[in-house]
């Protein structure tokens, strides 16, 4: 179809009278000319017109052929079909509304997920030419990823690579502003210009800021939400880690940086050395030259990067560069896609069973329209024409379904966001920034495509079956309907069993004994320069019972691990931590043998250690561990970035402590722990405070006291209990989603089974009548019908259970807490589905039992 064609076709549709008149005029003109010619040739005037008409041929069929050329037939019949469909659905409102609601449900939950996916993965960021932006990293020969150092970045900038149009550097900074967690970035002066982002009010950052770098540009949503959108914010100073930084502008609406969630503000890179204790690496974002592919760019860049890393140790030199697109909030590679796939499959299954339900309803309706179809077929209607009409009807039902689905998806998203914010452990809420979840053209396109696709999905089989010439005589579509029910039952048992498995996993994480008393403990991460002042302030706080220090907060980032060895024995993956002696008191970790560190040991870095019971048993079985010594070495260099490097080589054990468990499983590795001495004055340690009275009010009063005495000194102050809740939360979430989907699937399946069994009963009324006349009892008729539905249910359950076993195997290979074979979840899921299936068929079976043999038999 070309443009010309479309134009002519549309003209024919919108002004059919004009098109017809034109055709009439044109043909009349021809006949008139021919008549004149005939007269000129000497044919008597009376005959000339007749001859001309004869020469012209069959005028009506010519007109018909011309109309065909206009090809308005296709659209005309489409409109006809739509009108017909709307009329017939208006006559069956219950049927139509049920179909629309069912499809709306299926489309709605999928649209909600798609909206989320779109917001993070598909929607390009609101910057200039987002698709040429890449995060730039390199890999060494061991395949390890490296960010550039700021020196390497300066060199790269000076080198003017032929692949790079422009580049900037970013250092992230999470910081508390007025007691609220904020996320900010130090950026190169060309950041805003490179991204084509302007200021709503004030200005963006400029190269001149390097001379006076204490300035910031606020994000527009932060400006609105935290500062009430007050234009007077320009010129105000905000304390960032105790440094006053002046607000010079607000970035344009919708801009939140290049990350996976919106940033609150941006400051010049030149300010970073003052605020940050050390600058090890920075993120480099490059804009590739126009028309350059990723592969070409990599080839061009790898050489210059090898140059830049020449002075590094051989194992750290660049052998390849990696480019990660920064066009969207989240860049999902192939593996990332695999990770989110199960969610899409689960939601897609809901749509699938909704379609199965509707297909069943359409089939039942087709049976009722049997006479209409066979009449039309025998009158010569083409089968393809009828199929087209039936498919049009399905799509006519699916489109309002999409509208319902859209409204539902807004409701689902709204409720989900609210639920997440309510159910998240309190202190996590401020860390949680949602990307804007508004619908856009992509969401609407998705809805439309999904609606048409599901219309075809649920309409196709019924349309094919209903237009079979032998339909209703030789063929009963019972097998197809049974298959659809089996698919539904399988899907909902899969989802419900999976929900059970995940719920049990979340409970097992929740119930896991950590061996730590966390109830009344608050932890504080502070800025090094203010340590003395913070400690002095804390010493005056009456609400603090005990103060301890640790290099790693349990459940926050995880402990680094070391290899311990002594003579014949060696243990890998032993977690280690530097702790002050008071940690054992704060967390209530009992000493099994020996003692805790003395003040002298803690202050003087002596090579002494306390090991957990499990380490003692594994290293020195049947021996007294106290007094023994061992060597420790860090497992791999990668731990360096996370933890404090191990400083000792020969260490003496002075005590054995009770086991703690910060892992998600109950095994020897997660119980293996070794403690080295430290004090609250040791740099890079976090403080643990055991408080009196209500933990939350103690936390708030301590936070207030600290911000008064040492503004900006506290980076984090949280309750330990939140940490525990936080690690259970993801499991809770997935089990809720799975339960929600499972129940939705169950609801759809129940209505599906109800429909199929009622239909079956209705068809077999006569048979039931005969059975009863021959002496069958009501209960035997009920049993007959229930057997029928139990047979379908069991087939579906078997398939669903088998699939769920495969899925939980897969999950347990990734997540150790998920059981690969969870008998309880399996039986519970099966029982619920089976009970629901039988309940759904109970009413139709009672109806069958209530059949009066006399009435039915007389009826025919």
């Amino acid at each position: 179809m070309n443009w010309n064609d479309l134009r002519l076709r549309l003209r024919a549709i919108f002004s059919p009278a004009k098109a017809e008149q034109d055709l009439t005029d044109e043909l009349a003109f021809h006949v008139e000319m021919q008549t004149r010619k005939n007269v000129a040739l000497g044919i008597p005037e009376a005959d000339a017109l007749r001859t001309a008409r004869a020469q012209f041929g069959h005028a009506t069929s010519t007109r018909e052929l011309c109309r065909d050329e206009r090809r308005i037939g296709f659209l005309e019949t489409l409109f006809q079909d739509i009108r017909y469909a709307v009329r017939s659905f208006r006559r069956a409102p219950t049927f139509s509304l049920t179909v629309i609601a069912t499809i709306g449900l299926g489309l709605g939950v999928n649209a909600a997920v798609f909206t989320l996916f779109n917001a993070y993965v598909l929607r390009p960021l609101a910057v200039r030419e987002p698709y040429s932006l890449y995060l730039f990293q390199y890999r060494d020969r061991a395949g390890k990823f490296h960010d550039l150092t700021s020196r390497q970045f300066d060199q790269l900038q000076a080198a003017e690579s032929p692949a790079i149009e422009d580049l900037h550097a970013v250092i992230g900074l999470a910081v508390r502003i007025n007691g609220r967690q904020c996320f900010s970035e130090f950026v190169s002066p060309n950041y805003f210009r490179m991204l084509g982002v302007s200021a709503t009010i004030g200005r963006t950052l400029v190269p001149g800021d390097n001379n006076n770098p204490s300035v910031m540009v606020l994000g527009s949503s932060t400006w609105h939400n935290q500062f009430g959108g007050d234009p007077a914010i320009i010129g105000k100073k905000i304390l960032v880690r105790g440094y006053p930084v002046e607000v010079v502008g607000v970035a344009q609406d919708g801009f939140g940086g290049l990350g996976d969630f919106p940033r609150d503000f941006w400051m010049p890179l030149a300010l970073a050395p003052q605020v940050l204790p050390k600058l090890d690496s920075i993120s480099v974002i490059i804009r590739l030259k126009r028309g350059l592919g990723e592969a070409q760019a990599k080839a061009l860049l790898v050489g210059s990067l090898a140059q830049l890393t020449l002075d590094a140790p051989a194992s750290e030199r660049a052998v390849s560069v990696t480019l990660e697109s920064r066009a969207t909030s989240v860049h999902l590679g192939f593996e990332g896609m695999l990770m989110v796939m199960p969610m899409f499959v689960a939601f897609g299954l809901i749509l699938l069973i909704a379609c199965a339900n509707v297909a069943n309803m359409m089939l039942a309706r087709a049976m009722a329209r049997q006479r209409e179809m066979s009449t039309r077929l025998s009158l010569g209607a083409a089968r393809s024409r009828l199929i087209r009409q039936l498919l049009t009807e399905s799509i006519v039902l699916a489109l309002p379904g999409a509208a319902v689905g859209f409204l539902l998806s807004r409701l689902v998203i709204d409720t989900a966001v609210r639920l997440i914010l309510h159910s998240l452990p309190g202190e996590f809420v401020e860390f949680f920034h949602f990307a804007p979840l508004d619908p856009d053209a992509r969401v609407f396109t998705f809805m439309l495509v999904a609606a048409v696709a599901s219309g075809i999905l649920f309409g196709f089989a019924p349309a094919i079956q209903a237009t079979r010439p032998d339909f209703g005589k030789a063929f009963r579509p019972q097998r197809l309907r049974n298959a659809l029910v089996i698919v539904q039952v399988a899907t909902c048992s899969l989802l419900l069993i999976a929900a059970g498995v995940l719920l049990r996993a979340s409970n097992s994480v929740h119930d896991l004994d950590t061996g730590l008393r966390t109830r009344d403990v608050v932890w504080v991460e502070l800025l090094e320069p203010s340590r003395a002042r913070v400690l002095a302030t804390l010493a005056q706080q009456g609400s603090i019972d005990t103060l301890a220090a640790t290099s790693h907060v349990p459940f926050d980032a995880g402990f680094p691990s070391a290899r311990l060895s002594s003579g014949r024995q060696a243990l890998d993956f032993v977690s280690y931590d530097y702790v002050s002696p008071e940690v054992f008191e704060v967390f209530d970790i009992r000493m099994r043998q020996g003692r805790v560190f003395t003040a002298v040991e803690a202050h003087s870095d002596l090579p002494v250690a306390i090991v957990s019971e499990t380490v003692a048993k594994r290293m020195w079985p049947n021996e007294d561990a106290v007094g023994k010594s061992f060597q420790a070495e860090v497992e791999s260099k990668s731990n360096l970035s996370r933890g404090t490097p191990l400083r000792y080589s020969e260490v003496r054990v002075i005590g054995v402590s009770a086991d703690i468990n910060v892992g998600l499983t109950d095994d020897r590795v997660s119980h293996s722990m070794v403690y080295f001495p430290a004090t609250a004055r040791t740099a890079q340690t976090k403080l643990l405070l055991r408080v009196k009275g209500d933990t939350e009010s103690a936390r708030q009063s301590i936070d207030r006291a600290l911000s008064a005495a040492a503004p900006g000194a506290v980076d984090k102050i949280h309750k330990m209990q939140e940490q525990i809740a936080g690690r259970v939360y993801p499991f809770r979430m997935t089990s809720w989603i799975s339960t929600f989907l499972g129940l939705l699937a169950l609801l759809l399946t129940i209505t599906g089974i109800y429909g199929v069994i009622s239909y079956l009963v209705q068809q077999r009324t006569k048979e039931m009548g005969i059975r009863k006349a021959l002496g069958a009892t009501s209960s035997s008729v009920v049993a007959l019908v229930l057997r029928q539905s139990a047979r379908l249910a069991l087939m579906g359950i078997t398939i669903g259970a088998a699939l769920s076993l495969a899925v939980s195997r897969l999950l347990s290979s990734v997540l150790v807490v998920v059981s690969g074979f969870d008998m309880l979840a399996l039986t519970a899921g099966i029982a619920v589905v089976l009970a629901a299936c039988l309940a759904a068929s109970l009413y139709p079976s009672l109806e069958a039992a209530g059949v009066d043999p006399m009435t039915t038999l007389r009826h025919d």
Binding site: N2, W3, N4, D5, L8, R9, D22, D25, E26, L27, F29, H30, E32, M33, Q34, R36, K37, Q55, F56, G57, H58, A59, S61, T62, L65, C66, D68, E69, R70, R71
Partner: protein, 112 residues
């Protein structure tokens, strides 16, 4: 009318070529096109006058010709067809195809 040599039925698709080539001479209405084809072929090809119009409409939909209402030589309102730029290109393509087809048929006829 005087007796004539037997007329040849048009091959499928050749009518399009005839119309397009005729329109190379300039804008024409339907009747003129049919006259012209008969004239040039010296009456050997007689286009069924009725079948001309579906072909004209088809070509118009394909965008090879354009139609416009104008005034005929006798002062009557008539629908004039003009070759478009793509139509001009199409004439060459169809002519070449035709030459190839007839050449092939010639070879077969002569060889047997």
């Amino acid at each position: 009318m005087p007796p004539q040599a037997p007329k040849i039925d048009l091959l499928q698709g050749t009518l399009d070529l005839l119309i397009l080539r005729t329109l190379r001479l300039g804008p024409m209405h339907g009747w003129a096109i049919s006259e012209r084809i008969q004239q040039i072929s010296e009456g050997v090809l007689e286009v069924n006058q009725g079948s001309l119009y579906p072909a004209l409409h088809r070509l118009e939909h394909q965008g090879w010709i354009e139609a416009e209402w104008g005034v005929s030589e006798l002062g009557r309102r008539a629908r004039f067809y003009t070759l478009t730029a793509t139509g001009r290109k199409q004439v060459d393509v169809e002519s070449k195809n035709w030459t190839r087809l007839t050449a092939a048929i010639d070879r077969i006829v002569e060889a047997t």
